[in-house]
Subunit: 395 residues, 2 copies
C-alpha cells in the first residue's frame, strides 16, 4: 500500500432521459450564462442540442452555442471559444459530447477564468488560479474526461498534443444517458471500449505496491467492459451493455482504479498521443495498435502483474501453461484476440499506417521530449525504449 | 439498470502520517476557527489530538476542543457543541474519531448553519438550508460516515435513534491513516468489519434490477473485507490489512456499491438501530446478531442474489449442493461461521441480550414507526415481519 489522494467531486446523473435535468443542474451550480459547446452536426441532427437548449430555456438560463470540436481537439477552436465566452459574459461551459468536447470545454473554462492563452497550462508555462465551472452531457463512453482532471489539447500549428491535470478542471456534473450512445458508429464504440479499459490498465500495470481492493475493482471493471464490448459487437442496441460501458468509462479514469498503486504508467497513452497528433488516428484504436507491443516489451519487469491480469481479466487457464511467462503471454494474446473480435487493430499496419523507420524515430523523439525524458511505472521507458516499442508495433 | 445519482465529493488523503496535513486542508476549505470534536480519552492519550492541534497551529488556525462523544452519539452533546461553536465563532467542524464523532460533528455543523435544534432534521421537521464544512481525521474503519451523507443521532431523552441524509453534510475531506486504527480493541475492529460489509450488503440484496459493474465492485469489496478481517484476527498489527479495511469502509458507504440497483434495503440497519437505541450495543455487533435471521426470513424473495452472494463472496462450492436454496443457505451459514471466527455474535443471546417477547414486540413497533411503516428492497418488511425476524434472532 502506498498513500494516495482520491478526489472525484463530480455529481453523476445517470439514466435514460437524464439530459432533461441539465438546465436545473447548471442553475444549481451557479450558471448565469452558458456556452453550449459541441462537436459535429450529429448532435444537432439528433435533436440533442435542441433538447439541451430547451432545458436551459426552461429555467431561464441564456446561452450561446459553439460547435465544431473535432477528435484530437484543436487549440484554434479553444481560442475562439474563449473569445466568444468573454464577449458574451459566459460563466458556465456545458460540454455536449465526448472526451474531445469536454477537454475543449475545460480549456475554454481555464481561459475564461485566467485570461491569456490556455495552452500555457498544457505546456506548463503557467499554473491556473481558477476554472469556470464545466458541466457535461456525455454522448460517447470513452475518454473518462467527464470525471477526470485531465485536459488534452492538440496545438495544430506545432503538431503537439499535450495534456494537463488540474483538480479545478473536474466537471461539476455529468449527465449520462446510455441511449445517447446508441447512434455511434461501431468504430467509435469499439475505440471507446479500448480507451476505457486502457485507463485502468495504465494504473494496473505497475512494479510498485498495490492494494487488493483496488485490484478487485480494476479487474471487475475490466471484465465488465471486456464482456459488454463483445455483447455490443453482436448487438449495438443493447442498452444495458451500453450502460455498463458508460459507467465503466467514468470510474476507469476518475482515480478509483489506481488508489494505492504508487504511480500510474500511462506509457501506452504517451506513445499513442504522438500517433494521433501526427496522423490523426482515433485514440482508442491507436491504443489497441500500441498496447500489445508495449506489453511484450515491458512484461519481464512486472511479470506477476501480467500473470494476474491474464488469469483474472482475460480468463487464461493456468493448467494449459508451464511457466509464468507463458501465462503472461497468453494474456497478451487474449487481448489481441479481443481487439480483433472488436475489429480493432493490434499493430500500426492494421491501424492503416505505413511508416518508415525515420518516422518511428521522429515519433519516439517527440514522445520522449513530451514526457520530459522518460515515462512509466511498469517499466521506465526512455527514447530508445519508445523507439523499440514503435518498431515492434510496426513489424 | 436503473437510473441513479452518484455524488461523493469528499477529498481523501490516505496514508501513514497523513494527519499532519490537517491544518493546511482545513485552511484550504475556508476554515477561520475550528471546533475539534472527539470521543474518549484515548485520542488525547495517544497524542493524536495534540498532533492535530499542532497542525492547526502551524497554519495559524485558532481552535476549540470538545470531547466526550460516545457510541450512539447523544443529542445533548450536539446541543453543547452548537452552543460552544456559536459562542466561539467556529465556522469549521473537525471530527477526530469514527462514525459517532463524525455524525455528532455533522449535526453540530447543521446547527451552526441553520440555528435551532438540529434534531429537527433527523425527525424530518425541517430541511436544512446549509451546513458548516466538516473535515475528518478517521480513527475507526466502520461507519463510512466520512464520505456519506448520513448523520445518525440518538435522542437519549426519547430513546429514538434516527438518521437523516443530506448531501450538504458530506465531509469536505477525510484523512485516513491506517496506523491510527492499530490501537483499537479487537471487538471494535471486528464490529467495524461487520458494519463495512453490511453497508454494501444492504445495497446488494435487492429484488430490483442491478448492474454488472456495481456487482463486481460490491463483491470485490466484500471479498476484500472478508479476507482482511480474518488476517487482522490473526495479526491486528497487519498494516496492509488495516489499510484495505479502512479504504473499503469509505467506498462501502459513499454510494458506489449501490449504483443502478434501484433502491437500497437497509432493513438490518433499521432493526439494529432499535437494539442499539434501547440497549446501547455496539452497532456492528448488533448487525451481526440480526443479519442471519433477516437473511433467512427474506431469502425466498430474491433467491438469485443470495445464490450469487454465496458463490462469489462466501466461496460456496455449487457442486456440494443440489438446489439454489441450499446454495443460498450455505452462504448464510458461511457468514455465520465468519462472524464466529471474528468473535462476533450471530443472534441476540450471543450479543448478550436476554429479551422477553414483549421486548421484541416493542422493538418491532418502534422499528416500524421509525421506518414510516415499512422498509426493504430485498423484501418489504412491515411490523409483523420485523417481529418475526427479532424472534428468529432471539430463538
Amino acid at each position: 500500500m502506498n498513500g494516495f489522494t482520491y478526489y472525484a467531486p463530480t455529481r453523476v446523473e445517470f439514466g435514460i432521459g437524464a439530459e432533461d435535468k441539465v438546465g436545473q443542474l447548471a442553475r444549481d451550480h451557479g450558471a448565469t450564462k452558458v456556452l453550449v459547446h459541441f462537436g459535429g452536426a450529429s448532435a444537432v441532427r439528433s435533436g440533442l442540442i435542441d433538447r439541451v437548449c430547451a432545458s436551459l430555456d426552461e429555467v431561464g438560463l441564456p446561452h450561446v452555442g459553439l460547435g465544431g470540436v473535432v477528435p484530437n481537439p484543436r487549440l484554434a477552436l479553444v481560442h475562439e471559444g474563449v473569445e466568444l465566452a468573454c464577449a458574451e459574459g459566459v460563466d458556465f461551459v456545458l460540454a455536449v459530447g465526448g472526451g474531445s468536447v469536454i477537454d475543449s470545454s475545460k480549456s475554454i473554462a481555464l481561459g475564461i477564468a485566467n485570461g491569456g492563452d490556455p495552452w500555457d497550462f498544457n505546456i506548463g508555462l503557467r499554473t491556473p488560479a481558477g476554472c469556470a465551472p464545466v458541466g457535461v452531457v456525455l454522448t460517447i463512453a470513452a475518454a473518462g474526461s467527464e470525471m477526470s482532471n485531465s485536459c488534452v489539447i492538440t496545438n495544430e500549428e506545432t503538431g503537439v498534443k499535450k495534456g494537463c491535470n488540474y483538480d479545478i478542471c473536474r466537471p461539476k456534473f455529468v449527465i449520462m444517458d446510455p441511449e445517447l450512445t446508441l447512434t455511434l458508429p461501431w468504430y467509435q464504440t469499439a475505440s471507446g471500449c479500448v480507451d476505457i479499459m486502457m485507463h485502468t490498465m495504465e494504473r494496473y500495470f505497475t512494479s510498485q505496491a498495490t492494494m487488493q481492493l483496488t485490484d478487485e475493482i480494476a479487474e471487475g471493471l475490466l471484465r465488465t467492459v471486456f464482456e459488454n464490448a463483445l455483447i455490443l459487437h453482436e448487438d449495438p442496441s443493447d442498452i444495458d451493455a451500453r450502460a455498463e460501458v458508460m459507467w465503466a468509462g467514468s470510474l476507469s479514469h476518475n482515480g478509483l482504479t489506481g488508489c494505492g498503486n504508487g504511480g500510474n504508467d500511462f506509457s501506452s497513452h504517451a506513445l499513442e498521443h504522438e500517433l494521433s497528433a501526427a496522423y490523426d488516428v482515433t485514440h482508442g484504436a491507436g491504443l489497441a495498435a500500441i498496447w500489445p507491443s508495449w506489453a511484450r516489451y515491458v512484461m519481464d519487469g512486472c511479470l506477476d502483474r501480467f500473470v494476474q491480469f491474464a488469469l483474472n481479466v482475460v480468463g487464461v487457464d493456468p493448467e494449459e501453461h508451464d511457466t509464468a511467462e507463458e501465462v503472461a503471454l497468453a494474456g497478451i494474446e487474449g487481448m489481441e484476440k479481443f481487439y480483433h473480435a472488436l475489429e480493432m487493430p493490434t499493430n500500426l499496419h492494421e491501424l492503416g499506417l505505413d511508416l518508415a523507420d525515420g518516422d518511428l524515430a521522429e515519433l519516439a523523439h517527440r514522445c520522449a521530449v513530451n514526457c520530459g525524458g522518460s515515462r512509466g511505472a511498469a517499466k521506465i521507458l526512455h527514447e530508445e525504449d519508445m523507439l523499440g516499442i514503435y518498431r515492434m508495433a510496426n513489424a
